[in-house]
């Protein structure tokens, strides 16, 4: 629409139709207008204007918080509005553009449009009735005034109706489905001829659910009126009524520009696409002018007495979009729109933020790579950051957070309780935040941690596991270098000769071979844990115990499962889940690629449920799982995939989710053979599992010196590793947190050789010690199941720990290093159950967890994710983080660094004592 031109036929048609719609609802409209007047005069509250209780309640629900306060906030909308809402409106306005229509002879008119997906724009059908019109038009962003009144440089983009074009004609026709809704969606070129990126303007989300606005609330219209600079109408314009496909709201002095975005002021949600003004008519149906006279041909829209405006409802647009058929070639665009429009995953409706924007940075976000090297951990492709937040224990501040988190944290998309069903006081203080931001995650965390409502905030970033960090995993050198038999693509070659060369005189190998039991060296760990290797059913197990074992749940938190024949029959693939890709199966996806240390889950599982190798010709088979008798598993292992690979944890929340589901779905025993640095959320989930009575066996850690999380938490059972001589494995973590040791050095486990053939290899790690303790826990619980029914859940874990410790074969090591001794399963099962009253809760006298500050956490994160001895300030950016250290993190790192003075020959150098930093961070 250009300035003061005579009204064209389309405008006349639409306005007439809008007037009819208006007239059809005149009773309702008059009633609401009277009530709005009463509200303006202060005699009626805003929430008393509507008669639609459902809508009001949805609106209330969207406010969140207590009902009374929600009503109070809604009623305050005309006079007071939170700055957060205004910020959202401003952000949404960025996505609004001027549409410049071109005919054969130059500019033929203007409209307004808005991006609703990274490359898709919406406007009225009467602006773009067909692809041809769209192909000749441009979308012009930034056509607005700057802070000093200067004209900003507009950025224009071509439209690409050839890629995507979907429209609903403004005329309603019975033969055209969803017609009369007057909208067009069209693809936009992602880059213009100057190289400017469309992505910098973001997009808005069309939320079709109810409750965005109620009658009497204010509307904000963002538009290019008559093609002028972008403006927002901030007058007291109220929503009058909502009809089937349209909303009717009060008129400004000028009709809105076609395709303008109509937002509810209360929520900053898009409520409609403006498409027509409503003229006043006389009894004969003739339009009236502002001077009271009947409209004359040639009158412009300035002359008309507009009494209202009409916009197409968002829900009608979304419905038509979902239902209208689209050519196959345009399906990818539809999928993109759906993806962009997908609401954040939340239970309930209170915390979703309606307007979301793509990152404003012009830099294309990096793809996450399967390998940690050069990965972009901080941001996802959508510019989302994740944070774990520990709120203060002060109830008033907590309540304030719940009420105002959206305002306190800019860009907050969603926040959920970390463990919604937990009543533990620590867990209840934990929230998990999704924030849209392009800032350094540690800076954002520091800002959040600075709030009085918050005790601690950490970004949830990718981190290495202890195995990934140390570079050693399952196949450890047998007095030789790793490269002798294990290769970076994850294959290995049999190493029994070396094993026998090193260990044939060892205590346990001698015991295994005693009496001429050929091949039993492969089973040495059975002898070490005192569990009979036999072709017969285990003599010590009763029928009810076997029945219980079959029904109990043993869950493995690892990299997922593979089809390696050693374990294929031991998995319960009816109950597995993937908490990384959130798909339905915990297949070890890295098992198919040349990824370092694949099949970690396969190897650890084999020690519990390993059966027989399919290929018997290799003569390599041996060492079944401890819960297998006569080749048949006594129980089947449920694999949850919680780590991308054994060296990398994607997000801590994925571990938390896996354990949370295991706990909630009734797991009896859990085991996890990898660890990382401590985080409040791992602490919370370890406590949760403990309080719910789940025995959680965790590997103490490999080659990192100290005990890793979650093994270091009091509620878990921390397992160190021993060798065939019953001595500690040199790589095993140790410390007071360790409960027990089990065979872990040079244990016989399944692998693939470099021709992808299934082999068995001797390998090392606390990863291998841990499953044996988990297997023992299953046997122990099956034995005492009835009696344990009388124990409180945590007492079940403590009774196990007590029996484990009492029955352990004493180890030849100092106290507080590798636990009470070596696992003795027969002794464990014979151990009388400790009386509940004698058991001590693991968290008694434990100080309430007080996480370190965000600066130390950042320094520890960087140090942990960097190979040892290479971290120096400035150069300490790990393979896992692309974000530079914040000043706070740098200061923390400096505090643990020593600068050696420069000598004549060399410049000064700074060395970080990463061990001291990490020990401080690990509280060890």
């Amino acid at each position: 629409m250009t300035q003061s031109l005579p009204l064209d036929q389309t405008t006349l048609y639409l306005a007439d139709k809008a007037a009819s719609n208006y007239a059809a609802h005149s009773d309702e409209i008059n009633k609401i207008i009277n009530r709005i007047t009463e509200n303006r005069n202060g005699v009626r509250s805003l929430t008393d204007i509507t008669d639609d209780k459902t809508r009001l309640l949805r609106r209330v629900a969207r406010e969140g918080g207590a009902l009374e306060q929600a009503l109070e906030r809604i009623n305050g909308v005309p006079d007071f509005q939170d700055m957060a809402i205004l910020r959202k409106i401003v952000r949404a306005s960025t996505s609004v553009c001027r549409i410049v229509l071109r005919g054969r002879s130059g500019i033929s008119g203007y409209g307004t449009g808005c991006l609703i997906a990274p490359n898709v724009l919406i406007t009225n059908n009467h602006v773009f009735p067909d692809a041809d019109t769209a192909s000749r038009a441009t979308a012009q962003f930034n056509y607005e005034l700057g802070d000093n009144g200067q004209i900003l440089t507009p950025v224009s983009f071509r439209l690409r109706p050839d890629l995507f074009f979907l429209t609903s004609p403004y005329t309603q026709r019975d033969d055209v489905p969803f017609s009369g809704r007057d909208f067009t969606l069209v693809a936009v070129e992602p880059t213009n001829t100057d190289g400017a990126l469309l992505s910098q303007f973001g997009f808005v989300r069309l939320d079709q659910t109810l409750g965005k606005i109620i009658e009497g609330e204010n509307c904000v219209v963002i538009q290019h009126p008559k093609g002028d600079y972008k403006k927002a109408v901030l007058k007291d314009i109220r929503l009058i009524t909502i009809t089937d496909n349209f909303i009717i709201y009060e008129a400004d002095t000028l009709p809105g520009s076609s395709g303008s975005l109509v937002l509810g002021l209360g929520t900053a949600d898009v409520v409609a696409l403006h498409h027509s003004a409503v003229p006043r008519k006389n009894a004969e149906g003739q339009w009236l002018r502002k001077d009271g006279k009947v409209r004359q041909p040639g009158d412009s829209d300035d002359d008309i007495d507009w009494i209202g405006n009409e916009g197409v409802r968002v829900s009608c647009i979304v419905e038509a979009f979902n239902e209208l058929s689209i050519p196959d070639s345009m399906q990818p665009y539809k999928a993109k729109i759906l993806e962009a429009q997908a609401p954040p995953p939340v239970v309930g409706t209170t915390s979703s933020t309606p307007v979301t924007l793509a990152p404003t940075s012009s830099a294309a976000p990096a793809e996450t790579l399967p390998l940690p090297v050069n990965a972009a951990p901080a941001r996802t492709a959508t510019g989302l950051l994740y944070f774990e937040v520990l709120l203060t224990d002060q109830p008033a501040l907590q309540a304030d957070w719940d009420l105002r988190a959206n305002q306190l944290v800019p860009g907050l998309i969603d926040q959920i309780p970390l463990l919604p069903t937990s009543l533990n006081s620590f867990a209840r203080r934990m929230r998990y935040l999704t924030v849209k931001s392009t800032d350094n995650p540690w800076s954002v965390a520091a800002t959040i941690e600075g709030l009085p409502q918050v005790d601690s905030c950490r970004p949830d970033l990718q981190s290495l596991t202890d195995i990934g960090r140390s570079g050693t995993e399952s196949v450890a050198p047998i007095h030789d270098t790793e490269s002798a038999f294990v290769f970076n693509n994850g294959t290995a070659e049999p190493n029994e000769d070396k094993f026998l060369g090193n260990w044939s005189k060892s205590v346990q190998v001698k015991a295994a071979l005693k009496g001429g039991k050929s091949g039993h060296q492969r089973w040495w760990n059975w002898y070490a844990v005192n569990w009979p290797v036999s072709d017969q059913p285990q003599p010590g197990l009763s029928k009810p115990e076997r029945e219980r074992l079959a029904q109990m749940r043993l869950v493995q938190m690892d990299t997922g499962y593979s089809d390696h024949s050693k374990v294929a029959h031991g998995y319960n693939t009816d109950l597995d889940f993937d908490f990384i890709d959130m798909d339905q199966e915990a297949v070890d996806e890295k098992a198919f690629f040349g990824f370092k240390f694949p099949y970690h889950g396969t190897r650890t599982a084999s020690l519990v449920v390993g059966g027989s190798l399919a290929d018997t010709s290799t003569l390599l088979d041996g060492n079944s799982g401890l819960l297998v008798e006569n080749g048949k598993p006594l129980t089947r292992l449920i694999p949850y995939r919680i780590a991308q690979s054994v060296i990398l944890i994607g997000r801590g929340k994925q571990v938390v989710d896996g354990v949370n589901y295991a706990v909630r779905s009734g797991a009896d025993v859990l085991f996890m053979c990898m660890g990382s640095y401590p985080r409040p959320m791992l602490e919370a989930i370890a406590r949760e599992a403990y309080e719910k009575g789940v025995i959680w066996a965790c590997a103490a850690g490999n080659e990192v010196g100290f005990v890793v999380a979650p093994a270091l938490y009091p509620g878990t059972i921390a397992v160190a590793a021993t060798n065939p001589n019953d001595l500690p494995w040199s790589g095993s973590s140790h410390g007071p947190a360790v409960d027990i040791a089990a065979p872990g050095e040079d244990v016989y486990v399944p692998f693939l050789d470099n021709k992808k053939r299934e082999v068995m290899v001797y390998g090392s790690g606390t990863s291998y010690a841990t499953p044996q303790v988990a297997a023992a826990a299953m046997l122990w619980k099956a034995r005492h199941y009835d009696k344990l029914g009388q124990y409180l859940p945590w007492q079940v874990v403590e009774a196990f720990r007590t029996a484990l410790i009492k029955s352990a074969r004493k180890g030849q090591w100092a106290v507080n290093t590798y636990g009470a001794g070596i696992l003795d399963i027969t002794g464990l099962l014979a151990q009388p159950l400790a009386a509940p009253a004698t058991l001590k809760h693991a968290y008694t006298n434990q100080p309430e967890a007080r996480p370190h500050g965000v600066g130390i956490a950042e320094a520890a994160h960087v140090t942990w994710n960097t190979a040892p001895d290479t971290s120096t300030p400035g150069a300490a950016e790990s393979a896992l983080t692309t974000a530079p250290l914040t000043q706070r993190g740098r200061q923390a790192l400096n505090a643990f660094s020593v600068t050696t003075p420069a000598s004549a020959q060399e410049s000064s150098s700074t060395v970080t004592d990463s061990d001291a930093l990490l020990r401080y961070f690990f509280n060890q």
């Binding site: 629900a61 209170t350 029904q551 109950l575 908490f579 339905q584 989710d657 949370n660 009734g666």
Partner: protein
């Protein structure tokens, strides 16, 4: 008008008055007059509620209404308020209303204590039992028990047995805090229930049931049946996966988790079926029946198989149910849509949408008469299992359960299933799943009611019974209204006081529904005695209706009183 009055297999006569005041001490000292009247919302919030919510919150079966409705015999169910009802933050609209402080006269102390885990479900249970005991002692009700196995025949009061709806009621640790015994009960005048609770703590639900029954018998009360699960997943004491059943409240625990019957659930079943109490030094059988309502489909199948394995013979009951109209295989065939979903806290569930079975041929409005296909309702195999065990099926008067809807959107039709159980029933479909979608937004349901829906549910049970068993199913059906169990009752019988109206409605609509049912589903006549014109014989029909509304229940309860000997 039925001469003998009416029977109701499942209702909650004191629940709503009970939650109007949280008493600090035990036993209750509230005036009895305070406990028998109607529950009336007095707050201005009422103006915000739509009719459906008002019906749900309104009084349906208070003690005064029992008298009005001539309820001669029934089973009073106690369902301690679960924590999901106290979710005010993201529990959706209903959660907000319940916890808003505007729902006077409801005492928010209850909601707060449950939400904050300051009380155990067991304590809530014995507090509500105490109200029944007081009403019994005062002569307002007659509580049935097997020590004195007789009905009160004065017709001045209802005869009620007790039942527990939800195994969570056996949990004696603080809600959500399985590590802490509930020691918060302040006893001013001890009785067997409070003595047992304060001195005999157990964390074992099977043991808890045993002790509960003993304590009940010690004061001449008796537990008739136990519903193993209710509307939420009880993390601290999972007995069986529950069936999704509560769209009004959004809470993580409303989603089913797990894969059928848990080991602990099996132990509770063992305890219930073999329960003995000590009466004056003599071991006396006092078994508790297991009700399959609220159990997930897989839990029910596990339960039947466990009964077979153990050779248990006691009747299976389904106290307040509807039917899906499907056999298990037909239900699986009717699966329209299924989508994997992850809750924000990571738990996998599956949304499923099963095409609803048409109940009766009804001309142009045919399709409006469909059964509710949610798996909480009985499949044909369930009906068969109950009838074969000489059990009793109580048909709910909740329109949502009965299946009558006005306009059914996809969202309303959708239910949720435990991801593990979905995989059990539809392994191939599960393999085809892509990535899970975020949860869909909560939409309100707008349902309407009709007596025909009730008739169709009754008729389907009879039809299945005729085909699959050699029993006379008309003798094994009754009403299990679920009044005051947060239901939306059928329009023509909003409360127990309107039971006489229900009788005339059944007499009127059953023959019409039968015709429609048979036109749609085929099969032989379900109302068998006809006059020469082929019309259903009125005396016969009245007899059947009286059986359903009373006599079947009475016969069953008499059998219960004698331990089905």
């Amino acid at each position: 008008m039925a001469a003998t009055g009416f029977f109701d297999f499942h209702l909650h006569p004191v629940f709503k008055k009970f939650i109007c005041k949280y008493e600090d001490t035990y036993p209750s000292t509230r005036p009895l007059a305070d406990l028998t009247g109607q529950f009336e919302l007095t707050s201005h919030i009422v103006r915000l509620l739509d009719k459906e919510l008002l019906h749900i919150l309104g009084s349906q079966s208070c003690v005064d209404q029992l008298d009005e409705g001539h309820l001669a015999l029934g089973v009073a169910a106690i369902a301690p308020i679960e924590r999901l009802f106290t979710n005010k933050d993201d529990g959706g609209l209903f959660g907000k209303i319940l916890n808003s402080g505007l729902t006077k006269p409801l005492d928010l102390t209850y909601m707060n204590r449950v939400r904050e885990g300051q009380v155990s479900y067991y304590q809530l249970l014995i507090r509500e039992i105490n109200i029944y005991k007081r009403l019994h002692d005062d002569g307002r009700l007659h509580m049935l028990n097997r020590q004195s196995p007789a009905f009160d025949t004065s017709r001045s009061k209802s005869n009620l047995a007790l039942s527990l709806e939800g195994g969570h009621g056996l949990c004696r640790t603080l809600i959500g805090n399985p590590g802490q015994a509930d020691t918060s009960l302040i006893v001013t005048s001890a009785d067997s229930l409070s003595d047992d609770f304060t001195a005999q703590f157990t964390s074992n639900p099977a043991q808890s049931l045993q002790q509960l029954q003993q304590a009940l018998w010690d004061q001449k009360l008796d537990l008739c049946y136990l519903v193993l699960t209710h509307l939420s997943h009880i993390d601290e004491q999972p007995l069986a996966t529950h069936a999704y059943g509560m769209k009004m409240i959004k809470d993580v625990s409303s989603y089913p988790m797990g894969n059928g019957l848990y080991l602990k659930g099996r132990q509770v079943i063992d305890a219930a079926y073999t329960l003995e109490v000590n009466v004056k030094g003599t071991k006396t059988p006092a078994p508790v029946l297991i009700d399959v309502k609220h159990m997930s489909l897989k839990s029910r199948l596990d339960f039947y198989s466990y009964r077979r394995e153990k050779g248990y013979q006691l009747p299976i009951i389904a106290s307040h149910v509807g039917v899906t109209g499907y056999s298990l295989s037909a239900w699986k065939e009717a699966l329209d849509e299924a989508n994997p979903m992850r809750l924000p806290s990571g738990e996998p569930v599956v949304t499923i949408n099963v095409q609803r079975k048409t109940a009766g041929s009804w001309g142009v409005i045919n399709k409006e008469f469909t059964y509710n296909a949610w798996s909480v309702n009985l499949m044909d195999e369930d009906i068969e299992a109950v009838l074969q065990s000489d059990g009793l099926i109580g048909v709910s008067l909740d329109v949502r359960i009965l299946g009558w809807h006005d306009i059914l959107t996809k969202d309303e039709q959708e239910e949720y299933m435990s991801a593990e159980e979905f995989r059990f029933f539809f392994p191939e479909r599960f393999q085809q799943f892509g990535l899970p979608a975020p949860e869909s937004k909560f939409m309100p349901t707008r349902e309407e009611r009709h007596p025909l829906a009730l008739c169709f549910n009754l008729l389907h049970i009879v039809s299945v019974g005729n085909i699959r068993t050699d029993k006379d199913p008309w003798l094994q059906i009754c009403i299990g209204s679920d009044y005051d169990g947060l239901i939306n009752p059928v329009i023509n019988c909003r409360s127990v006081s309107q039971l006489p109206e229900l009788e005339s409605n059944l007499i009127r609509w059953l023959p019409i529904a039968e015709r429609a049912y048979r036109e749609e589903n085929g099969g032989g006549p379900l109302l068998t005695v006809r006059d020469q014109q082929g019309e259903v014989d009125m005396t016969y029909l009245k007899g059947i209706v009286q059986n359903v509304l009373y006599a079947n229940g009475e016969r069953f309860m008499k059998r219960w009183l004698t331990n089905f000997s």
